[in-house]
Amino acid sequence: MLVAVLSDIHANREAFEAVLAAAEAAGAERFVLLGDIVGYGADPEWCAERAMALAVQGAIVLRGNHDEAVGNPSVSMNPTATLALEWTRRQLGAETRAFLAALPLEAREGDCLFVHADASAPADWNYVLDADDADRHLAACSARVSFCGHVHKPALYCTAPGGRITPFVPVAATPVPLLPQRRWLAVMGAVGQPRDGNPAAAFALYDTENAELCFLRVAYDVERAAEKIRAAGLPASLAERLARGR
């Protein structure tokens, strides 16, 4: 089965639509959303509703720190994110707010674990930024293959029993065989706010039959998404960073 794994949509409707279309065109049969559906972007209600619709169709949808912060003011954020969050709260209806608040923090399916941030303490929202972080994550879970987001930069870590962690920066559109005798942690890039210098929306397709993971990038209408952020009166830096992919 071909599973599309998306993370950090961040209320970017244009990017979300482009990724969904690309995943469907590639034959994705299942969707997994690793959280942060809202925050930063100008279309939180639309994106949350779309996520709800996917969940109804059987998608796994998880909670990220921005989704959590909508209903939980104690989640700490930087000033820009806080401004965006205050705006986001006003845009969301009661139904989508309830949907976001009720999302699970992690999901396990077969030998795969899905979670928004580091699996050792999912509610603490720690980033997986390097091999040490990956080691902590892998030590805390038993899944052979796990997926997280939160970082906005794609990465892939693997380890053999007793071995060290091998970090790798994935190359788009090159399937990587996740060798069965190893454990793997795939950090998804962001759909709605990439930060690896490439503005194209990021996601991945995981083929469960042959355990091949393919990181992908999709071009989308960055200008339109940025223009909506400005028009909504959100911090201008949030619009500018979309074009830079930083």
Partner: protein, 467 residues
């Protein structure tokens, strides 16, 4: 893990185990067959026991990962991978004959034979590098040949695919490779530079042409590191029959700094195919090792190794295209010639390590006994070469050098296409013939080349003045 002990007659995943072909320390190799596979195949099964070198297992995993992603005549065809949970194996094409290893019994080889073997191996490396793979264990026992003549590189246990995670990296502190053939940067732990394979090929060429290994066969890391500062005895000092051009090629491959070697295997292949076109430098005439004072200085102030990270490795290779510039000297249109030179200049500016081959086709008659063998014919050929050189005056010097070739052929388009295929040309630049009755009768050479070329083709036109 199931420890299956295979024996002839066993059937594994549909493969009938026939005979043991090789019983090595790291792997057993069986000849096998399966009814739906219509070419000879073998099964490689790793020998995994307690206390074994973990690198052997990782190497096997790497080979399972890389081999299915390779194609073309220069690699063994991949058939199947066996699961580690049951029985790990790789089934692949069995190549005829032996590797280059038995050749070591009759060294030194004549220089022409060394160059011919080297050219074939370089072409195979070029194919591998363009599939994003550095072999990192090139040596005589890993080179085989097809009956059609192409070199085939085997054993990807130490190889690195630039687009896939490197399981060897980080895992082990010691550098992995085969001591006599390892490039200096590989000794220091770099596993992502395509030019490391050119160093290994240089060691092979040196060994084949002199009968001696340039850096011996050190058994410890300290001995391996010697090649960072101690230069080998020049090949001609060991074997006077080696021409200066071959020594030039070998010593360039053996440069400590990868940036001083050939920028691509394709450019190395070009030189090995035609030693007469090799640009000679001080390397060609060197007859002694560097003096003691120089070596001591280098020992404590090592040569800078300008190696590249995985991301930059492909950019480095892309900077070194082979560009064939097909010049129609008869056209005589000065505007077109100028436009062609400008196009070539821009290519050199953008890809500074390019190799430029200026070619001109000398048309010969289809049936009539041609004059090309007589004095007049030779003169024609030489005159064309002179004209080509004159045409190229003022072109910027590309890093890969510039060469001139007059091809004698009945059909210019066929000659250009054949040259491009044989020399692994990346880019053809040619002028469009002006509108004329001749063109409408004969068709356009550039059109035919553009339609059938194995690479990018730029057709240059000078813009006509406004009517």
């Amino acid at each position: 893990m199931v420890k299956a002990r295979l024996k002839p007659g066993d059937v594994v995943d549909g493969f009938l185990i026939e005979d043991i072909a090789h019983n090595g320390g790291m792997a057993r190799i069986w000849t096998v067959s399966r009814p739906d596979v219509d070419f000879p195949i073998l099964m490689k099964v790793p020998v995994i026991g307690e206390g074994d070198d973990p690198a052997a297992i990782v190497g096997f995993e790497m080979e399972q990962m890389i081999l299915p992603r390779l194609s073309g005549p220069h690699v063994p065809r991949f058939v199947a991978n066996g699961d580690f949970a049951t029985l790990p194996y790789i089934v692949m094409e069995r190549l005829p004959g032996t590797s280059l290893y038995p050749l070591l019994e009759r060294l030194p080889l004549p220089p022409e034979e060394v160059a011919a073997i080297g050219a074939k191996v370089a072409v195979a490396l070029d194919s591998l590098h363009h599939q994003h793979v550095v072999h990192l264990d090139l040596k005589p026992s890993n080179v085989m040949f097809r009956e059609s003549g192409e070199a085939v590189l085997i054993d990807y246990g130490l190889a690195r695919h630039i687009h896939l995670p490197d399981l060897m990296d980080e895992q082990f502190r010691l550098p992995y490779g085969t001591a006599p053939y390892m490039a200096p940067e590989q000794v220091l732990g770099t596993r992502s530079d395509f030019r490391s394979d050119l160093f290994a090929l240089g060691v092979m060429l040196y060994f084949f042409s002199t009968g001696e290994r340039p850096f011996g066969d050190p058994q410890r890391l300290k001995g391996l590191k010697r090649r960072l500062w101690r230069d080998p005895l020049p090949p001609r000092a060991r074997n006077a029959a080696i021409p200066p051009a071959l020594q030039e090629v070998i010593l360039r491959c053996l440069e400590v700094n990868p940036a001083w070697r050939y920028p691509s295997a394709a450019q190395l292949a070009l030189d090995l195919q035609d030693l007469s076109a090799v640009k000679l430098t001080a390397r060609a005439e060197k007859m002694k090792r560097d003096p003691f004072s120089v070596v001591v200085r280098r020992r404590f102030n090592p040569v800078t190794i300008e190696t590249v990270k995985p991301r930059a490795a492909e950019a480095q290779l892309a900077n070194a295209p082979i560009v064939a510039v097909a010049v129609d000297l008869a056209a005589g249109a000065p505007d077109l010639a100028e436009a062609m030179r400008k196009t070539v200049a821009r290519i050199v500016e953008n890809t500074p390590d390019a190799r430029i081959a200026c070619i001109n086709v000398l048309k010969i008659n289809r049936i009539a006994i041609d004059t090309s063998l007589d004095e007049e014919g030779r003169n024609k050929h030489v005159l064309r070469l002179v004209a080509l050189r004159t045409w190229s005056t003022g072109l910027p010097a590309p890093g890969g050098g510039i060469t001139f070739h007059v091809l004698e052929a009945v059909s210019p388009a066929d000659a250009i296409l054949e040259y491009a295929r044989e020399n692994h040309v990346d880019h053809i630049v040619m002028g469009a013939r002006a509108e004329s009755a001749m063109r409408s009768m004969l068709g356009s050479v550039s059109g035919e080349v553009a339609a059938h070329a194995p690479c990018t083709v730029t057709v240059v036109r000078s813009r006509p003045a406004a009517q």
